[in-house]
Structures are given as structure tokens and as C-alpha cells.
Amino acid sequence: MRRVLAWMLSGMLVLPLVLLVLLSLARHWTWPALLPAELQVRQWRDLFADANGLGTVVLRSLGMGVGVAVVATTLGFASSRSLARHARKGRLLALLHLPFAVSPVVLGVSLLYAFLRLHLAGHMLGVMLAQLVFAYAYAVILLSGFWNQRARSLEELASSLGAGRRQVWLHVLMPLARPLLGVCLFQTFLISWFDYALVLLIGSGQVSTLTMTLYQYFSSGDIRLAATCALLLLTPPLLALGLNHQLLSATIVTRLEAYDDE
């Protein structure tokens, strides 16, 4: 019985991916057919030929994601050390959750006026700055789990053996934190890569990302290209899943650690 249930659940988890692949390849898939009558690779060929500008959109989204991830992880790593050792860690953790509580839409509409005055609305940089608020907060929460007793002992040991502050960071802390920094880079990349609300509001229709393009295709009824965009959106996280579960499971582990260590 358990085995059957496990297989059924596995099937339900795979089905959406199969459906997306079929949708992106379907030429004719009319009611009430269970499977497409004809398949074609035109959507994918057009994509690689950049016939509808999708290649440029993908590159822009990738660039924004990488930029946000690098800045958020760098700043988050240094901030997380101060957070972990602060006497009022609980209160600071509450502050870190504020952007997530008010939601990207509320933050987007409330900041748009300021971004317009600063000539950042409608620009890639403005969208990245808005995404950075969420990515940075997430990075600090995630990386605060690193600063445990072991990290502190090694830091103190290196200092007592004569290592300078820079040397401690470069030769002790960074190598020790490398796996978690990798997870953080990936997770903060996904915050930008998956974002739709901030691109819509701060981007003001001028910044075209993969999520924006997906929505445009979907609302115009072109489900095949929408499915192609959806598969492209899923590619980095699914590749990461194939390489290392930890890159995705960090969401669960970190949240628990952040709450437990408080």
C-alpha cells in the first residue's frame, strides 16, 4: 500500500514537467485529445535562433540574477556574522522578515515614486535594487546559520596564531563557508530569476525578463511559448536539483536553523 502511494505521489510530481514539455512541443492539441496530435520543435528552434528575442530576455534575466546573487551574498555574509553575535538577534531577525511580510507588490508600489525620482524605475538596475532587498534579507537569514561555535573557535585560533583580519576571512572563514555560500548564491539568484511582481512594478513595462515574457505569452493565449518560457525558468533549479539536493533543500534547513539558534 505504501509503495503504491509512493509511486502515485512520484507520478504526480513528474506529471507537471511532462505536461510542460508536451505543451512546448505541441503543434495541434485540441479538445478532447489526451495527447497532442502533432509535435514540432519550432518553438525551441526559434528560441535558439533568437527569432522572437527570447534569447536576449534569457540573457538579461540571467545577468540580473547573477548580479543580485553576488551582491546579496557578499553583503549578507558580512552582515550575518554581526547578526549571529548580536545581543538582540531575535529583533533583528524580525526586521529581516519585514520585506517578506509586506509582500513584493506592496514594497513595489510604495517604492516606485522614489525610484522614479531617482531615474531608476523602468531600468534593470532599479529592478535589481528592489530585488536586492529580498535577496539580501534572505542571504543574512541563510548565512547566520554558519556562525556557530566551530566557526568562532577557528576564527579565534587563527587570530591567536597571528593571522590578520583579512587573512582570517580569506584563508579560514571563506573556505569553511564555501558550500553554504554556493547555496546562498543559488538561492538568491532564484529570488531574482523567479521574480515577477517587482519587474512588473519597478520595471514599469520597460524591463523584459523571462517571467514577464511568460506572463505576456500566457495572457495573449500563446500557451506553447508560455510553456517554453516556463521550462526555461525551471532549467537552473532543476539542473541544481540534479547536481545537489542541498542547493534547494537549504530553504528548509536554513529556516529551521535560523529559528533554532535564536
Binding site: S82, A94, L132, A137, V140, I223, P237
Partner: protein
């Protein structure tokens, strides 16, 4: 002057980058919605606040968001608990171990698109029902999406949240050694159901409450899923704010800001109450 008395620049950055934009945004929205700044500024007025607070749609939207958040989380939690109880250690074996992570790689926008293609009147389930001879045309299939009941929103959120909760409960269970505790309860004469209900469930809920509460607040402010599979009316608060804000007629902007301010205060109040409650609980635990 001691160096340690100087404020830590990284803590200042932390506060500036997180609370800074939220509070600055809130102050801006309050000033704009009271007629003090912006394109419609003609001196201090509470007209927009009166209009929004007197509008039934405001309260319906807030109550609807609260209900959708709660229903999505509760339904996902019940399903995750049931699956965990039914599957146990099998969750960590075979293909399922890796596949449970797949929904974590799916953004809400894609989940909503999949819901339309699976649950819609001409979707995969409707086609399956037709193949089995249960329905003749798309209209015969029960409408699950774009309905005021919000069932499409809840179902879509369930597909995103349940696997996350299943993984979370599994990890919490292992951290708290729930299997050992249940074994002790069984040895002392408890039935399997009693051991689950009186030992496993309270331990998991107590350990998972902080994450679940934050998740609830995030679901309450969900945007992409209700935008794509929700009804026009009532709508969830993020969708209504975006609609009012993006209208061609800018006279609706102060109202959008009033609604956004109300929601921001509600969500921040809930979050701070949650952290205060946890702080008190931890102090109590340390004292005992």
C-alpha cells in the same frame, strides 16, 4: 571611548536594507494618501482613507486574503501530515526522495500556468474525464478556476506548499526523534492513532509553528497565483492593490496606497506579534 560602543556598520546596513525600504515606503504611502505629496496633493485630507475604510470591498478583500492564506496553509498541512503518516521513512527512499524537491524549483507563475492546463475546463483532468465517458464537453467539468470560492488558488498553493511542508515535517520529526517518542508511547500502551495524535502531532506543530506562521503571512500576500487563477471579485489584496495602482486613471492611486498601507500594517503587526510571542515562549522555556 571604547570601540565596542560604536554601532556595528553591518547591523546599520542590515536595518537600512530591510526595515529602511519598508518604513520609507510606508511613510511615503501615508503622505500620498493624505494628500500631502504626489500629483494629487491639495493639502491634508482624510478623504481617501474615509472612502477606502467605508468601502465594503476593502474589508472583503482583506478577509478574503486572510481566508485564502489560512485555507491554503491548512489544506497543505493536513495533506502533508497525512502523507507523512502514511509514507513514513519511504519519503527518504528511492525516486521520491529526489522528486519531492521538484516543486521547490517551480515558481508561482509556472504553478498557476500548470493549474490552468490541468484543472481548467479544457485541461488535462477534463480531457481524462471525457475519455472515461464522464463528461461530454468542457462546460460539464466542474469549474475550479477563476471562482469566488478561491478553490483554484487553494489547490495551486497546495501543489507548491505541500511538498515543502512534507520535507519540513520529515526533518522536524527526525530532529525531535519523533519515531523514538512514538515507540515509547506505543510501549506504554498507546494505540498507533493515540501515539500520533498525542505525541507526534504536538511535537511537530510546536517545532514547526514559527515557519508555518511566516509562511501564512507570505501566502496572505500572494500575487501571481491569484492573478492568474483567481476570480475578478473578490480578489486577494496584492492583486487589488496592483490593479488600482496600474489603472490609467491616476485618481485611484491614493486609494491603492491606503489599501497597501492597511495591509502592510496588518502583515507587520502579525509578524511582530509572532516574534514577540516566540521571544516570550523561549524566555519561559529557559526559566522552567
Amino acid at each position: 571611548m571604547s570601540r565596542s560602543r560604536l554601532p556595528d556598520p553591518w547591523i546599520i546596513l542590515l536595518a537600512t536594507m530591510t526595515a529602511g525600504p519598508v518604513l520609507a515606503g510606508l511613510v511615503f504611502m501615508l503622505l500620498y494618501s493624505t494628500g500631502l505629496i504626489g500629483l494629487l496633493a491639495h493639502g491634508f485630507t482624510l478623504r481617501y482613507w474615509h472612502d477606502v475604510l467605508d468601502d465594503r470591498q476593502t474589508w472583503i478583500t482583506l478577509a478574503y486574503s486572510l481566508t485564502m492564506g489560512l485555507a491554503s496553509l491548512a489544506a497543505s498541512l493536513v495533506l502533508a501530515l497525512a502523507l507523512q503518516a502514511a509514507l513514513g521513512a519511504r519519503l527518504r527512499r528511492g525516486a521520491l526522495r529526489g522528486l519531492l524537491f521538484v516543486p521547490l524549483a517551480v515558481p508561482p507563475l509556472v504553478a498557476a500556468l500548470l493549474s490552468v492546463e490541468v484543472l481548467g475546463n479544457a485541461g488535462l483532468l477534463a480531457r481524462l474525464a471525457h475519455t472515461l465517458g464522464w463528461i461530454d464537453q468542457p462546460g460539464d467539468f466542474p469549474t475550479l478556476l477563476f471562482t469566488p470560492s478561491g478553490i483554484g488558488i487553494v489547490l495551486t498553493h497546495m501543489t507548491l506548499v505541500t511538498p515543502f511542508l512534507l520535507l519540513l515535517l520529515d526533518r522536524l520529526g527526525r530532529n525531535a526523534r519523533v519515531a523514538d517518542l512514538m515507540q515509547v508511547a506505543r510501549t506504554l500502551g498507546a494505540s498507533r492513532w493515540q501515539a500520533w495524535r498525542q505525541v507526534c502531532l504536538p511535537v511537530l506543530m510546536r517545532a514547526g509553528m514559527p515557519v508555518l506562521s511566516v509562511y501564512f503571512i507570505a501566502l496572505m500576500g500572494a500575487f501571481e497565483v491569484p492573478l492568474l487563477v483567481g476570480a475578478q471579485y473578490p480578489s486577494m489584496v496584492s492583486v487589488l492593490i496592483q490593479r488600482r495602482f496600474s489603472q490609467f486613471d491616476i485618481s485611484t492611486r491614493p486609494e491603492a496606497y491606503v489599501l497597501a498601507s492597511l495591509y502592510a500594517c496588518l502583515a507587520m503587526g502579525l509578524l511582530l506579534a509572532l516574534f514577540a510571542w516566540r521571544g516570550r515562549r523561549e524566555v519561559g522555556e529557559r526559566a522552567s
